[in-house]
Symmetry: C2
Subunit: 408 residues, 2 copies
Amino acid sequence: MSSIEQKFAKLGTDHAPGQEVRQGDALDTALRGEPLPGVPVDFSHGDVNETAFGPAPGALEEFVEGVHRGGPQAYTEYRGAAELRDRLAERLATFTGRPVSSQRELIITPGTQGALFLAIGATVTAGDRVAIVRPDYFANRKLVEFLGAEIAPVRLDYLGHTDRAGIDLDHLESVFKSGVRTFLFSNPNNPVGVIYSSLEIASIAELAAKYRATVIVDELYSRLLYSGQTYTHLRAAAAADVDGIVTIMGPSKTESLSGYRLGVAFGAAHLIDRMEKLQAIVSLRAPGYSQAVLRGWFEEPEGWMAERTAQHQAIRDDLLRIFRSVPGLAIRTPEAGSYLFPRLPQLSVSLHDFVRALRVQAAVTVTPGTEFSPDATDSIRLNFSQNHAAAVQAVERLAQMIARYSTA
Amino acid sequence: MSSIEQKFAKLGTDHAPGQEVRQGDALDTALRGEPLPGVPVDFSHGDVNETAFGPAPGALEEFVEGVHRGGPQAYTEYRGAAELRDRLAERLATFTGRPVSSQRELIITPGTQGALFLAIGATVTAGDRVAIVRPDYFANRKLVEFLGAEIAPVRLDYLGHTDRAGIDLDHLESVFKSGVRTFLFSNPNNPVGVIYSSLEIASIAELAAKYRATVIVDELYSRLLYSGQTYTHLRAAAAADVDGIVTIMGPSKTESLSGYRLGVAFGAAHLIDRMEKLQAIVSLRAPGYSQAVLRGWFEEPEGWMAERTAQHQAIRDDLLRIFRSVPGLAIRTPEAGSYLFPRLPQLSVSLHDFVRALRVQAAVTVTPGTEFSPDATDSIRLNFSQNHAAAVQAVERLAQMIARYSTA
């Protein structure tokens, strides 16, 4: 294999969320039992149809106004329209509890995926090592590998705790001690939905400052917190070195605006500068007209976020009840976001075969845990931002499928 | 400087089209004469306002229908919605004269900039050398350098010919002989607007096949051909090795749809596969709702393209008349696209100072030639897709400014 072939061999996407259609329906293993009829549910991503969680109100209207604004909206600076950055910087400062300079510390990106790529591309070069939590968002590993860097994994014992996320802080420090200078993590964690405690965040801030490490924190789900939860933004921690932190957010999930491809990154000015240079050659800018949609972000109608959160919490609780009735299955209650990450009981088929059988026999699409950690060969991720009734029925089918394929 | 600092030092964007706002107005040199009043014209990109060249009809309507289609439109496969690829593959096959497999040979990208990044990222790795025409599109060089590869320049003597673009084919062969296996060029050429003759294209196809080189050809302007011009698509050349060619197009220019961020790449299936893997970590997909806009691409109303082309040709001819009246200025007649690339007479100030003076004193924004070739220290690029009258007056001011700063 040539070096470019090797590079891309690591970037497999067949099991990535949304790509299941490319797997085909061939199974290496015999199917057990009859098909389970029901409304198909694709838990690999949220359902943004109006029958589930449609886009935040006013988005399309802002877009259309943007189109009518014409040239200035189509051709913004690469880092995004200046006037829009002014608005957003203020709202993000209020939300996170620390000032944001709209001129120097903020860039608008094509989705949070774009923000992650740019942030990592601006920080990491070939031969570097990057600390990454296991499990965490599937693309992080691939981004690091594409840039010719290596992963230094950090354990997250999410099933062993209820009062904190469960990051192994000694492990993180030993990784920093070994020379790693970049740490990338999601909070709330994707795929588990746990929030790092204020003590965990304080420790991460202290360690990063002590070892002069850059921290890229993906806070995509930080607006969707369930009742009784509090959230600490890393950039606002007392020990935080703000010149070493980039925070990433976007309206693709809770606000269901993924179809517009919008994200933001804010923090360390020298990294935002580099991110803009990289944006210039990767895709020029976040889609110009779409940028206008961000005008309504953080300014949703009174009560809209609270209602959306309550709806998600109700689905979460119903699905947890079903999962907890499955013998041998372990699951932690998500504190934020819309993911469930159950650890399945031992199955008589491989995880990938089970996931495929689930899709073919029960019309239920989930993402295998191996996308999030090579160790997670017994877990699956579900995005439960779905039609409530359909999700409940789909997880009932899933429970039946587990019973069919369980070795117990 | 650390290696990542060095990497980004090469990616400067201050002189890139559309980024002039970040340069400030400070001048290293004294301004000559009084300000020249007039409607400001930004020739760094096309004017997509309705007073100049507004978006192709039906685009916003297709977008809105896409939003109403909901989830399937927001969450397409990373390479773009399958049904849309079916439509586009057929049209692109007809347009270029060779079949395109919608399943295997086509990807929808965030703009043609996104397509270029993905194509080069899928082909080139650190330490490679890449053949690039001088002058050519400014981001090509930066893309290659970001990936840790090197440039092997190939001369284009565009002022020395009228019957062909003027590529030095012996130079190209010597570059292939030296081990280069990737060639990247735009046709029509950006910034010059010349079309490679069918003989030049045949030779490029033969050389690439002989040396088993991959060719990435940016055909962004290939729909906007002036009267009497013919165009040869590289992928349709008799000697073309279709497994080694990726063609890039998009509706951002002639069709004025840049605000939707759409492009396509089609050709070599193994490279399209890699491009999708890279897309998955860079920005997931071209904006979902925007993709719907491509449904109308190549199906504009009867006569719309012909009229748009005629309007551009009329502007071109008026601007050429003004430029040709400037003593010491050399310019080639563009055969396609909307760029002019005059070589200025000798000035008493640096090119960058002149470009800045032009903006400050005459409200005329142009892009310095050095963005397109390190040798083009005496040239500027203008995108003349502008309001006709405003463009003529702006180029008249430009001619006055040349007279003020000329050493002649």
